[in-house]
């Protein structure tokens, strides 16, 4: 009999397809009579288009159309209501207003991609330019407004008798105050944004990478002025999301509207350069953290303020203290505040650990500074300040084993015996140091998720839900949880995802895909087993015809009772049914009265060259408390990938915004640096595998039929990223005695002090 695959190493169901190139990504799909589009983008950041001359492009070989602002022939419409949050607030190519440098101002459609690209270079645009607003330091600051989860981004909790956070800090024995800066960062998924739009009457099929298929398609329908059911979005394979494929950017509706106007399928693939301005970025920001504590390091006051961007077209509301400083440590006095500045720059979007990665860099660096100031070991300091109730709300956690992360991580890494004095370990040219930091990320339950389980007469099952697999292994997770719930081998389950014709699936955002999907798969499995039993007692040819449902027992794919045993496939064959299916109830809201987070602890060692100042990460250990692990192999990969993201955050990634032009200086992967293999050491990842009893704990009725081994999962897509940059920065301090608060920590910030 099969053992459950939950928590074990499972190869990806699509691994072979991907490594052999057989998996078809959005840009790989073909269509008869396909035309190809290429965008022309603005070279000013703010102002108006005074003229666009398409003549040379139109005369270029193979060109079918040039759609140009201010009034292209494309039919595009406002998006309103809830879907408005899933797209930009202007109609592309429908006005003369330039809102950011790199905005689409024209689109050429031709017979081949090369012809479209060459002709696009011939479109001449003139502008009436105005000075753009580009500086978060100089532009007026306004309150950021609610956080992404609806909580206030500004909060002050004071102990009785304390007049202000400043007073609480002033009354503390030890005060640490530090200001942090980081530049623009980009998602840079490996797959370019690519769209294929194919119309059939008033129905359109869109192939595009999307992290939240349902709302994406809804926004698309409104943008095109058609009914929601007229849009089918297929997002089968996606080469990296990281937040850049959450919303509907201008590219997809432009391609779809062109296909409609032209009466031919249209494919649009953005260039890497265009992806830097047309598909979002992480806001640059300034943060100030102030910590007040006793001489033993017990916190008395925590204050965390930030200023980030608010681009005019679409903005992610950056609230870096949310889920970091308002959640991590016990403190009688807490103050968090997020401000933004309205800027004429490309739209911003959530990027992996959207608030938490920058927020934790600031908080966890400041905590390290507090450890230095008090002489308390960094691990001890954090254990000493661990919160047992959520500081901002006072609620308990559904599950929290952070103390175990610290202890196990310290043991595996060999933290004991570390010299707290900087610059004490030298090996030849290299200064060595170690650092640690905490990881925290909220677990958002997603309402409305539905899964469908189909049992087929060949003893296989199909599990369907319109979630999206960004390369993380969601499809495999769906197969494993389906197999577990049905008690059959994973190989006998076919996952079906990434298609809006399927039941509404979990958004692949915010580390929530797994824990939003698994309970619904379990519920659908229960429902289909009940349906199987109902058929068994009602179908004419069934050996159980006329029996009571209570006489039947389903176990590992087999129905038993009254002396008969039949697999579900055999029963279906016997009664002449090709298959049966049932859906789950729509996923609900989380159980009230709890807060939900995943946790972790990072430990790392770096070396810094004493001559030239390069920082290289030499060792990394991460222990993560992420609830029940569904697929150990994919989970480890994702945590390792998260840590690599943190290495980029700490040491490499930044784009400079030119303040006078509003142009982002880097637009290639040669200039915008992400880690390469040589920058990544062996990363030791451990998962505690403690099921969350509340967030996705055992379902209510304790049914004997359905395996629930996959329940108790929590997300882990972002926890590897949160805090890892701080661990690296803290190790750099330990190695060199130099505290760098502006990431990335590049050698130019170190060499003058080495």
């Amino acid at each position: 009999m099969p053992r459950s695959q939950v928590g074990r190493d499972t190869d990806r169901v699509d691994g072979r397809l991907k490594v052999t190139g057989a998996a078809e990504y959005s840009g790989d799909y073909r269509a008869a009579d396909l035309a190809h589009a290429h965008l022309v983008t603005s070279t000013i950041a703010r102002g108006t288009i005074t003229s666009i001359d398409p003549a040379a492009a139109l005369a270029s070989p193979g060109v079918l159309r040039v759609y140009a602002a201010p009034e292209s022939r494309l039919a595009l419409y406002e998006v309103t209501g809830q879907a408005a949050g899933f797209t930009e607030n202007y109609l592309p190519l429908k006005s003369d207003v330039v809102r950011f440098h790199g905005q689409a101002v024209a689109m050429v459609v031709a017979e081949t991609p090369e012809q479209a690209r060459d002709a696009a270079a011939l479109v001449t645009v003139t502008y009436d330019a105005q000075p753009p607003r580009t500086s978060i330091a100089d532009e007026p600051h306004v309150p950021a407004g609610p956080t992404i989860s609806g909580a206030p981004s500004s909060l002050e909790i004071l102990a009785p008798g304390v007049g202000s956070i400043d007073a609480a800090l002033a009354a503390s024995d030890v005060v640490v105050e530090a200001e942090f800066h980081q530049n623009v960062q980009h998602h840079v998924g490996m797959e370019p944004h690519a769209i294929l739009a194919v119309w059939d009457g008033d129905q359109v099929t869109i192939h595009a990478g999307a992290q939240i298929p349902g709302p994406y398609a809804l926004a698309m329908a409104q943008r095109l002025g058609i009914l929601p059911q007229s849009v089918r979005l297929i997002t089968r394979y996606v080469g990296g999301g990281f937040g850049a494929r959450v919303v509907l950017w201008s590219d997809t509706p432009l391609a779809a509207a062109a296909a409609r106007e032209l009466g031919r399928p249209v494919r649009l693939v953005l260039t890497r350069e265009q992806m830097f301005t047309l598909t979002g970025h992480r806001s640059h920001l300034t943060q100030t953290v102030r910590l007040g504590a006793s001489r033993q390091g017990v916190l008395n006051a925590v204050s965390h303020r930030s200023v980030a961007e608010r681009p005019t077209t679409i903005a992610f509301t950056m609230t870096p203290a949310h889920s970091t400083s308002d959640a991590l440590y016990r403190t009688p006095n807490l103050h968090v505040d997020a401000q933004v500045a309205v800027l004429d720059i490309p739209g911003s979007r959530a990027m992996r650990g959207p608030n938490e990665a920058p927020g934790a860099f600031a908080l966890e660096t400041a905590m390290d500074e507090l450890a230095v100031a008090t002489g308390v070991d960094p691990v001890t300091l954090r254990l000493r300040n661990q919160a047992t109730a959520h500081p901002a709300t006072g609620l308990p956690w559904s599950s929290k084993h952070l103390d175990e992360c610290y202890r196990l991580g310290a043991e595996r890494f060999g933290w004991a015996g570390r010299s707290a004095t900087p610059r004490t370990r030298v090996d030849g040219q290299w200064l060595y140091g170690t650092g640690m930091a905490t990881a925290i990320y909220p677990a958002h339950r997603r309402a409305g998720v539905v899964a469908r389980v189909r049992l087929l007469d060949d003893d296989t099952a199909v599990v369907s839900t319109a979630t999206s697999d960004l390369g993380t292994g969601s499809a495999t997770m769906v197969a494993i949880s389906g197999a577990d719930a049905l008690g059959i081998p994973v190989q006998r389950v076919t996952p079906e995802i990434g298609d809006t014709l399927l039941p509404p699936g979990a958004p692949a955002v915010g580390s929530s895909g797994t824990h939003a999907t698994v309970p619904m798969v379990v519920d659908a499995a229960r429902n289909v087993i009940a349906e199987l039993k109902r058929l068994a007692v009602t179908a004419d040819r069934s050996p159980w015809h006329g029996a009571a449902v209570e006489d039947l027992r389903y176990e590992r794919g087999i129905l038993h009772g009254l002396g008969h045993s039949l697999t579900f496939g055999r029963l279906l064959t016997t009664i002449g049914s090709p298959g049966i299916y049932k859906e789950s109830a729509p996923g609900g809201q989380p159980v009230p009265g709890y807060v939900h987070h995943s946790f972790g602890a990072h430990f790392c060692e770096v070396r810094v060259n004493r001559f030239t100042g390069e920082t290289r990460v030499t060792r990394f250990t991460t222990v993560a408390d992420v609830g029940r692990v569904i697929n150990a192999k994919a989970a480890r990969s994702q945590l390792v990938g998260g840590v690599i993201f943190g290495i980029g955050h700490a040491l490499l990634e930044e784009n400079h915004l030119e303040l006078d032009t509003g142009r982002l200086a880097s637009s290639t992967l040669a200039d915008y640096l992400v880690p390469v293999n040589a920058d990544v050491p062996d990363i030791d990842v451990v998962m505690l595998d403690r099921p969350d009893p509340v967030l996705t704990g055992p379902l209510g009725d304790g049914s004997e039929d359905v395996g629930t081994g996959s329940l108790g999962a929590r997300g882990l897509g972002e926890i590897g990223t949160v805090g890892s940059a701080a661990a690296i920065g803290n190790a750099v301090y330990n190695a060199t005695g130099i505290r760098v608060r502006d990431v990335p920590i590049t050698l130019d910030k170190l060499i003058d002090h080495l």
Binding site: E114, D118, A121, F611, L652, H656, D671, D679, L747, I751
Partner: protein, 325 residues
């Protein structure tokens, strides 16, 4: 990409026939095709020279001869290069990526264009790409830009790693044109930007690099190329140093030093060579010798760290070389 005609040449003479300012020679294509896609270069004629007999790596009493069409990876792997000119092999292996090194030729490497982001973006002013349009890098993002050999018209960094040890070793470049052949020291092959940054070398429009000769020297075997950059692989140098020392006992009898990542061309440091010569190979000597290495540097807003980093890079390279004996 602009339309162009493509032809394959089977001899140097055939390749040069009709060559002019609108002709581009295609070898590995790793720079040319990239810049043609961006429309930074827009040749009317592309002449594929990959079938020309410009290959071969040989070592004789005069030195190391490398054909212009030898691939970077093949030269880096060549035993004679590794044994007698280690810093050439090192500079090649620290360049680009394995895939690019498999394609890119030695002649093309010497002619590769700057990585300046403004040069590559045809929507921004750039005197090198479009003479007279202005230099966006002067007051733009210039962290990677040059501090030596710059002008008010251009501060673009010379991108080649290979050229740095070649300049240090007094390499000669062999050129062919319809008028015959000539040989030019690599050091003077490259020109400073001055007021004409679009001119980068003395190569004439109808001239082709056929090969290079690196002189035989007693110091080349004890040499090292050090490349300093933000990430460990696949990035251009912030600074680099090619250092070669000849020692008698502990005394430096000959030194060859050049730097990359800091100049508008590969930057030979003869003053540093002189300051090392005749002195003991000690940290104090190294420190003292590099004091004036960046004299005359003209840093801008984001690359002010480069003079100090250059001095540190040189000391580190000399120290590593000394310790590696």
């Amino acid at each position: 990409m602009r339309p162009y005609t493509y032809a394959q040449a089977r001899s140097v003479r055939e390749a040069l026939r009709g060559a002019g300012p609108d002709t581009a020679f295609l070898a590995g294509g790793t720079t040319l095709v990239d810049l043609m896609k961006l429309e930074v270069v827009t040749p009317e004629r592309v002449v594929d020279i990959n079938r020309l007999p410009l290959d071969g790596v040989t070592l004789d009493h005069k030195g190391l001869h490398i054909g212009a069409l030898e691939r970077m990876s093949d030269v880096a792997a060549h035993p004679a290069v590794r044994q007698h000119y280690p810093m050439i092999a090192q500079a090649l292996e620290l360049s680009a990526s394995a895939q690019l090194r498999n394609m890119a030729s030695i002649g093309g490497n010497l002619l590769q264009r700057t990585r300046c982001g403004y040069f590559r973006d045809v929507t921004t002013p750039c005197n090198k790409r479009e003479p007279g349009s202005g230099c966006s890098a002067l007051d733009g993002i210039n962290r990677g830009h040059a501090v030596l050999g710059t002008s008010d018209a251009c501060i673009a960094t010379h991108p080649s790693d290979l050229a740095v040890p070649l300049v240090a070793l007094s390499t000669t470049v062999h050129l062919a044109s319809p008028r015959g052949t000539r040989s030019v020291p690599l050091d003077t092959f490259y020109t400073l930007p001055g007021s004409t940054p679009d001119v980068e070398n003395v190569l004439r429009p109808d001239e082709l690099i056929t090969g290079i000769t690196v002189p035989r020297s007693p110091w080349a075997a004890r040499s090292l190329y050090l490349k300093v950059r933000d990430r460990q692989s696949y990035e251009f140098a912030l600074t680099s140093a090619a250092v070669a020392l000849e020692l008698q006992g502990r005394t430096i009898t000959n030194a060859r030093i050049a730097a990359g990542g800091v100049g508008t061309r590969p930057w030979r440091l003869t003053a540093v060579e002189r300051a090392l010569t005749g002195r003991p190979a000690t940290p104090a000597t190294f420190e003292a010798a590099v004091t004036h290495a960046a004299d005359g540097a003209q840093p801008r807003e984001h690359n002010a760290f480069k003079p100090a980093l250059l001095r540190r890079t040189l000391v580190r390279a000399l120290t590593e070389l000394q310790e590696s004996r």
